[in-house]
Amino acid sequence: MTDITASAPVVGRSLWADALARLKANRAAMFSLFYLTLMALVCVFGPNFTPHAYTTIYPDYVRTQPSLSAYPKPEMIETALQDVVRRMRADLEDWHEQDERVFVTISSPKTIDERVTRYLDRSDTFDNARIESKSPDGLKLTMSATVKKQYFFFGTDNTGRDLLTRTLMAGRVSLSIGLLAGCVAVAIGVLYGATAGFLGGKTDEVMMRIVDVLYSLPFIFFVIMLVVFFGRNFVLMFLAVGAVLWLDMARIVRGQALSIRRQEYVQAAEALGVGSGGILRRHIVPNLLGPVVIYMTLLVPQVIILESFLSFLGLGVQEPMTSWGVLISQGAKNIGSANWLLLFPAFFLVSTLFALNFVGDGLRDALDPKDR
């Protein structure tokens, strides 16, 4: 007999490879995937590179408009100076700018303590203050200081915190919560649904009845109760939220498991004498993976919206930590005076949701092409 294994077998194209090729051909999905990756990277690493910490408060820069050029603007220097001088309990005599330094002359009815330069240093606008000259009676003092250049690309919020850093921090929170709760929901849903679908019969009936009852409870009631229980620990809370969102997943997986179990290839495996473990591992799980992946991409935006929704109501993430929902809620309260507080976080949230949506659609088309 000739050695037939010698003929090198052709490598086949699995359904996964097909799906990947289809996904790659989908421009909207690929662009969205790229955008999401970028968004995740920027949110995770961005806050370390922005010039401000997300908790730093700049009293001089409350509700500052977004700008690409540096602050302070020339007209702001005088206001800031007046502010500082008032704190020194002195009068502003004169000021001018020269060689990147501001020269200030102040006067007071009482002798001026030289330590007043501290007020300049303490301000958000000035730095490196020093005494230039002092009148002999000590009632007049000339100081100089450099102007601190600050960049607020997205402007600042109500308390003078940099909105760019906060938006990125918020993204970190929102995205990680979406992923975390999404994974929890998928894990519970898949386990529950697969068990019900695989065991079938009475067990299945009882398990699904439980799901029905949970469905009929107002969902928001559940979530609010969880908030009440877990309070400010957002990780725990969103584990819990994930634990609520598994219902749909369980139904989908159960339906799939039931239908796969009825497929002839599973019957064929049973006829070969393959045990439950082998059927589960080789036939049911690989064929379930597609719908699970598709549903997961639907679930993540759902969780992000839910988190934002709770945060919007003040039930979610607590200050100084922030999330897109918190920022949008603050923005909504200030639409009259500072619309950027709404627009930037809203753009980040909505564009992320869109991208997730396109990736989900792309995956669905790729994994289940007949569903067009």
Binding site: P218, F221, L349
Partner: protein, 307 residues
């Protein structure tokens, strides 16, 4: 059919019972109580208040009392708004929520339905893509973004409508909440309608109708649309229950005196009776609308029989 309705309402009782029981114990297990909020409340007064509302009795007694009251249609007093009973609060709030919700629902069904049909008839053409894009946007952008942006555009910038007030329900003040509430629903209805209409138009009996030379009107309206309505009907039932019992976000942002906002406030304040009342009302609406869906199903589809 009447017997079926009666039987369905009977089976709703155990469901309602389960919901009430789970909710009752869940909220009671939660830490805190209705009178813990007011700081420095004299412990004596607090104990008095607890006694007055029967909160010092064992939990199971309170549960039985609550069930008993509920059977008599009595939702009890509100703990945090002591001048009102829960029933009174609903009498004021529910009509407002229902009015806004119904308008939004009707708007969504009409506009969403038309958009979906147009898209299905022009499948893969410009009009279809426009509808898909709008529907994607509408269902992706959350209400709590749409509402402030609406206010920013129409109230603050263009000054066409008043900012975030109810103003006793003047029409101009209602546009905002109704539109914001309707937008996501329009998107969902349009998507559903498009899908089910495409499916219906592809079905074999439509091919038969075309082969028999029937008019477009008959094909689209008589033969395709009627079948395509079923998914919309099953979506609209639960959606109606949710819309009519008030939207937390929309009522908060537009300051509408409906019942939607009670839920969050009451849960946070441990206003037990008010929370329970809201749960029961939502559950009742859900049950009733699911029943309506089933009845409509039988009306649309002769294969569905309930006897």
């Amino acid at each position: 059919m009447l017997r079926y309705v009666f039987r369905r309402l009977l089976t709703a009782i155990p469901t309602l019972f389960v919901i009430v029981t789970i909710s009752f114990f869940l909220i009671r297990v939660a830490p805190g109580g209705p009178f813990n909020q007011e700081r420095g409340l004299n412990p004596f007064i607090k104990a008095n208040l607890n006694r007055q509302f029967g909160l010092d009795e064992p939990l199971w007694m309170q549960y039985l009392n609550y069930l008993n009251n509920l059977l008599h249609g009595n939702f009890g007093p509100s703990y945090n708004l002591p001048d009102f009973t829960v029933t009174e609060l609903f009498k004021v709030g529910l009509p407002v929520s229902i009015q806004v919700g119904t308008s939004a629902l009707i708007l969504a069904l009409i506009i969403g339905g038309i958009l979906g049909i147009v898209a299905a008839l022009r499948q893969n053409k410009a009009a279809d893509y426009a509808v898909i894009a709008t529907a994607t946007a509408g269902s992706t952008i959350p209400t709590f973004v749409i509402a402030p942006i609406y206010q920013l555009t129409f109230a603050t910038t263009l000054a066409l409508v008043p900012v975030a007030t109810w103003g006793n329900g003047a029409l101009l003040n209602k546009i905002g909440p109704i539109v914001t509430l309707a937008l996501p629903q329009i998107a969902i209805v349009a998507r559903l309608m498009r899908g089910s209409m495409i499916e219906a138009l592809r079905s074999h009996h439509i091919r038969t109708a075309r082969a028999l030379g029937l008019s477009d009107w008959s094909i689209i309206v008589k033969h395709a649309l009627r079948g395509a309505l079923l998914p919309i009907v099953s979506y609209a039932g639960p959606a109606a229950a949710a819309l009519l019992t008030g939207s937390i976000i929309v009522e908060t942002i537009f300051q509408i005196p409906g019942v939607g906002r009670y839920f969050v406030e009451a849960a946070l304040n441990r206003d037990y009776t008010l929370v329970m009342g809201t749960v029961v009302v939502i559950a009742l609406f859900t049950i009733v609308f699911n029943l309506i869906v089933d009845i409509l199903y039988a009306v649309v589809d002769p294969r569905v029989r309930y006897d």
